[in-house]
């Protein structure tokens, strides 16, 4: 396929956490609110005058300092973030808000605070930690709303004078939805026998929507959508199988590239930083306050394994099944970042259940934060692709 016109522009934005668009937005006087977990409702960080930047540590090399502070047993994402923070890589942030989503991320941000890694020369800088529900129910919702009010809206207003009214939240949701609709519309081109966008390209665009001020990439995304409508897919499909990628945090687009280079087209992305369900638009009604509605939507759609009630656990696997059907996946890759406790369990359960109860071919892998060119991973994906192909030839890829 012909290269996407803005792909290099988007790829460039992913080279550093402190990208050009963040600097541009801050030069316009906007407040950059950093965050590290998908359970932080994004629109609340994107109120007029503020914008969100989800932290990542691109081109991570040594993590020695972070390993000293947190040992080698913590997941590499948390260590990579701390390392980058110690190096001064997040000095651009004006605040950081984190839920106690998992122990490791909590410790990562706590170390950032204790080591005074951020907020130098920023008079109004703040760290906020918030409790988030572990079950999707009325009680959980009440907690979520209260926590967002106390640990997001209140400090943003008090430190930076951000308007946190219902109107402001609704305006933020509207803008959030524009991005979501664009990403989802672009994602639609992954369907069908001859997709017009690769999983890698899509991951780049989606990732940018998490780490850049959203309004500053809107025009390029709109152009990309238009471009895709007429983009000619390759005559011969280079991929031998379509896979749904499920699992923990992935902000390393090289991992998607590696999977695709091994013959598996990543047709859907159900992972933190992915678009499913992270880029589902948030539909608000006029009867109830916006904050409560946002929290309910985040709580109900959240796919994080920390949600522990039975309905939510079952729903996680049903959602994977639904996506696999919708995106016509031949197989599922369950991945977890090494040392991630929540996904270690979810990967074990999910991979067994999706294989045994739903009949999908499933590959379960663990991976480091930055995979670059792992021969082992390539071999495993290639072997999986071959097994899926064989099943397809035998006419029994799935028994429904």
């Amino acid at each position: 396929m012909k290269d996407l016109k803005h792909l290099i522009f988007f790829e460039d934005l992913l080279q550093n956490a402190d990208n050009a668009l963040i600097r541009q937005a801050q030069s316009e006087g906007r407040v950059c609110v950093a965050y590290v977990c998908e359970n932080t409702p994004e629109p609340l960080l994107n109120l007029p005058g503020a914008f969100s930047a989800r932290l990542r540590a691109p081109r991570t090399g040594s993590m020695e300092m972070a390993t000293y502070y947190m040992t080698s047993f913590l997941c590499e994402y948390s260590r990579a973030l701390l390392e980058r923070a110690i190096e001064g890589g997040y000095n651009f942030a004006d605040a950081i808000i984190t839920p106690d989503g998992c122990s490791m991320m909590n410790r990562c941000v706590e170390n950032m605070e204790l080591l005074k890694t951020m907020g130098k020369d920023k008079e109004h800088f703040f760290y906020e930690y918030m409790e988030i529900p572990m079950k999707a129910d009325d009680n959980g919702l009440a907690l979520y709303v209260l926590q967002c009010r106390n640990h997001i809206l209140k400090p943003l207003h008090e430190h930076y004078g951000i308007d946190v009214s219902d109107e402001a939240i609704r305006a933020a949701v509207k803008e959030h939805n524009r991005i979501c609709e664009l990403i989802r519309a672009i994602g639609e081109f992954r369907k069908g026998p001859q997709p017009r966008i690769t999983g890698y390209e899509f991951a780049v665009l989606t990732l940018c929507s998490y780490v850049c001020p959203k309004d500053l990439i809107l025009d390029k995304l709109e152009e990309t959508l238009e471009e895709l409508k007429t983009r000619e897919p390759d005559e011969k499909n280079a991929y031998r199988a379509r896979v749904l990628l499920v699992g923990s945090e992935i902000d390393d687009t090289d991992f998607i590239k590696l999977v695709e280079d091994s013959g598996a087209y990543v047709c859907a992305d159900r992972f933190c930083y992915g678009s499913l369900p992270g880029r589902d638009p948030i539909e608000l009604n006029d009867e109830e306050d916006a904050l409560t509605q946002i929290c309910r939507i985040y709580m109900n759609r959240g796919q994080c394994p920390r949600y522990m009630n039975t309905e939510k656990m079952n729903a996680r696997r049903a959602y994977v099944d639904k996506l696999a059907k919708e995106y016509e996946a031949d197989g599922i890759i369950y991945e977890q970042m090494k040392f991630c406790d929540p996904w270690a369990y979810e990967k074990m359960l999910g991979s067994h259940i999706l294989r045994d109860d739903f009949g999908y071919p499933v590959l379960a892998v663990d991976r480091p934060y930055s995979i670059a060119s792992s021969g082992q991973m390539r071999t495993r994906v290639q072997a999986f692709v071959e097994s899926v192909e064989i099943k397809k030839i035998q006419g029994g890829a799935r028994h429904e």
């Binding site: 074990m348 359960l349 067994h352 259940i353």
Partner: protein, 56 residues
């Protein structure tokens, strides 16, 4: 009557002494644990032979 009582008491005392000697020997020389240590490998083998419905 008195004689029978004394005899009975004597027997009881003897039994108590025998009980003490035997149990104290077992206690002090850790014979209870030594005996169960012999039983443990046999139990291990037994458990290994049991059928289990392993299920996730």
């Amino acid at each position: 009557m008195m004689k029978t009582c004394l005899k009975l008491l004597g027997k009881l005392a003897l039994a108590a002494l025998a009980f003490f000697v035997v149990t104290f020997t077992v206690y002090f020389f850790n014979l209870d644990m030594k005996a169960t240590a012999l039983l443990a490998p046999w139990l291990e083998k037994w458990y290994d032979h049991l059928e289990h419905n392993q299920y996730l």
